[in-house]
Amino acid sequence: MDQKLHNLKTQAWAQINSADSVAELEQLRINYLGRNGELNKIAEDLKNLDSNQKALVGRIFNDTKNALENLILEKIQEIRGEEKKGWFDPTVPGIEPILGNLHLVTQAIEEISGIFQKIGFVRVRYPEVEWDWFAFEALNMPKDHPARDEWETFFVDHPEDKKYGKMVLTPHTSSGQPREMQRVKVPPIRMINIAKCYRRQSDNTHVPMFHQFEGLVIDKGINITHLKGTIDFFAKQFYGEKAVSRIRPFHFMFTEPSFEVDFSCVHCDGKGCRFCKSGWHEVGGAGMVHPNVLKAGGIDPTEYSGFAFGWGVERAQLLKPGIEIDDLRTLYSTDLRHLRQF
């Protein structure tokens, strides 16, 4: 008996829920709850039960009946809902679904990789714990060279490799240059390497762990105009149509010529303001790949040439308007009050 009721309920439930007009629901009401409806047919059988059972099944019967009536009513209201009139306050505050936050560095990395992918760059990531050879020697920086001082390098307490030397935490994404040359073997290369880097420094503008993005382009006939074009493309994509870039002379062992790259200030469009002073912001280095670096990477410098650049992700991102952080270390705070603003 109760089994029958159960089945009836399950069946009616499904039909009511899939109904999509008031007429259909009315028909269902008649079929199940009407005078000659399914429920009443079962009610006939109730009479034949003994009094104990009658009480139990009777309760299930009533529950089922109430449930179906309510469901039909709800469903009718739902269908008629759109026609409902009367006073409605559209200004009532919404109930916001909860949403988390992606870190500012992730947002920058996503944007940067997207920009370079548009012009055919391949995103890669190379070891953070790296051999000296990739981090320095292959980049034309022999052991004990004063140029290495600028890279305040962390050394790992681990036996040296016979071929590749000491184990270090890579102080720049440039270690990805010889890695990429070894991977690709035959150009063209258009690499964008975004990774964590480490230097022994910690103050308002430096953190020991930070992120760089490194571009490397190698092919036949690559020259300074291509480097300038690529940097300018990035500047306009990342900082807006009005942004311009410029390169100035500098020196790195692994590029020749080498450049310092500046982007025009986004706050004042390069006119000069409190934020930039000169109208320009220095973002990092670039240059034409030194022939010794090509050789170290197994590429013939008489046949191919290339350019490279390596900039700080944090630095590039913090130059955008609205993101003024006095102390870079707060960027890596884990305080939710910070993180929820990202």
Binding site: N17, T106, R125, A147, V156, P188, K228, E256, P257
Partner: protein
Amino acid sequence: MDILIPDNWLREFLKTKASPEDLQRCLSLCGPSVERIREGKTGPVYNRVAKAKRIANYNVVYSIEVTTNRVDSASVYGIAKEAAAILPRFKFPARLEIPTPATVKPEADTLPLDISTNPKLTKRVMAVVLQVTNAPSPDWLKNRLEDSGIRSLGSLIDITNYVMLETGHPTHVFDYDRIKTHKLIFRESIPGEKLTTLDKKTFKLPGGDIVIDDGTGEIVDLPGIMGTENSVVNKNTRRIIFFVDNTSPARIRQTSMSLGVRTQAASMNERGVDPELGMTAILRGIQLYKELANGKVVSKIHDIYPNPYKPKKITISEEFIEERLGIKIPAKEVTTILCSLGFGITLQPTTHNLTVQIPSYRALDVSIPEDIVEEIARIYGYHNIPSTLMSGPLPNQPTDSTFNFETKLKNTLKALDGTEVYTSSLVSKNLSSLPVLKGQTLQTPLKLKNPLGKEGEYLRMSLAPSVVRAVEDNKREKGPFHLFEISNTYLPKTEDLPEEKLMLAGVFANYDYRKAKGVVEQLLKEMRVAVIWQAKDQEGYETGRSLAVKSDKKVLGYFGYLNSGHLYYEFSVRELKKCAKDIPNLHPIPKNPPQVEDVNLITPHGVYLAEVIEEIKKVDKQITKVGLADVYEDTKTLRISYSDPEKTLTNSEVEEIRKKILKTLKEKLQISLK
């Protein structure tokens, strides 16, 4: 290296009407970067400048960044030379006027001085003995030194610094009478030898350092780096040795770095100063001692210079220049540019190749054709070179990278209330991995030789302690929150770089267990990774309160309560990606509505609900969905959907399946309906 150049000093040798701002702009675009202009000390202007009233006196100081390869421009002369080449390109006439000091003859009986060295240790050594009066320096000199960042210490020492700043060659002064032997012998130090520098610090030498010995075995100088206490001039000094040594840059660097004595002289010398400058420096010094300290030359000018500079030549073709620049610069302009920088040029008439002769002061820095290209390009002006994007074939995109997958993970977690953190890979030892039980040893994490502190001495092998700490940092937060991070862990290997294993890890705080698990379930579903959750104890987690998340018997990650009580999950990103389907499996929408019913049952302790659900699903393929609708104490309400793609199931058909379910549950798991 940053140097400070007072404007009035520069204009002594550089005749131009360009303002300091013009100088800053032009130099920065084509040469050394002028980082800042600041006000200099007021005071009398050097007499020669005052006489030349034609030019304005700007009382400013330039802070200039000189790159490591251009130690030749780390001086007033050096900057003047650069400016004289660069300014005319911006239509500012500029003329270089560096006077040639007159040659010198001894004015009295020659005093003895014996210098011995060898070419392995020094390229050039020059010395002269002078009779002097030790007086304070005049204000103009003091001001210039102080504007350049050097303290005035009396004329005898000030002149050595002045000559260094002006000419670019470090110089030194000894008290002639304090070196009783009158001998200066260059030699290598013996390990453990001691010396006391003029600032009264005593050092024990590592050995192999270049030192000067007075012939008795006593060290009287640490040449090229700093003088020693026992030979330095003092208020009683009447006779000096003015000394210009060009000592091996590599050795200077080695000693200076190992002793931690980083003087301006050392940082110039270790980069290779032009030995040809030695004569300029010694003559300029003599001139200043005469003018400011009543100097009388009382010895010959000693000059030990066995291998004078022989000009190097580099041949470069016009095509090569064009290839690297991307534009053609006429040969005539190339010649003008290179000549303005002091290079000698010969144009080969037949080949049109240029043979470039390198001046001594650029010998170390210019050695390949690319270096010549740089000189041409920067003076021509990088701003005058056009910008274009490269054409040519595109490289192949590798398909095995996880970048897009990481992006999707992060975006999904964000949508599921996850807040991303970046914590440091460098941690203290106890945060490098999850704590292990007593008696068990874990692999030792990689350690840094030179950490910034105990806090960052090790490379972490697990993200758990870092993410847990991030949660602890937010104790004030009362509502539920969820922090996650995707970062590498570093698993040491004996003879290779560590494995850098990319992990996703997260902690739920103030979260209901089911809601937290639902987030992870939803994440895996969105990533199209089908998994099995298996109750399993593991290191670092509370017993009986953690799960292994598996796919095809491979463990992808874990979920559960850490021993610290935090609700944590972690996955290997690469393993997850391997199990993730790129595209969804589409099924036709069933034509007939499913039958849905709720079943109440009581599960005894020790029976996992996941097992119950799995068992139910296995009963019949017409069971399309089994979910948990409600929990009340030990009673679980399961909502079961039945459907068939071909037809609407009848009540009796559903009843049949239900009977099978109940039978299975009773037989396999001893569970009965409530």
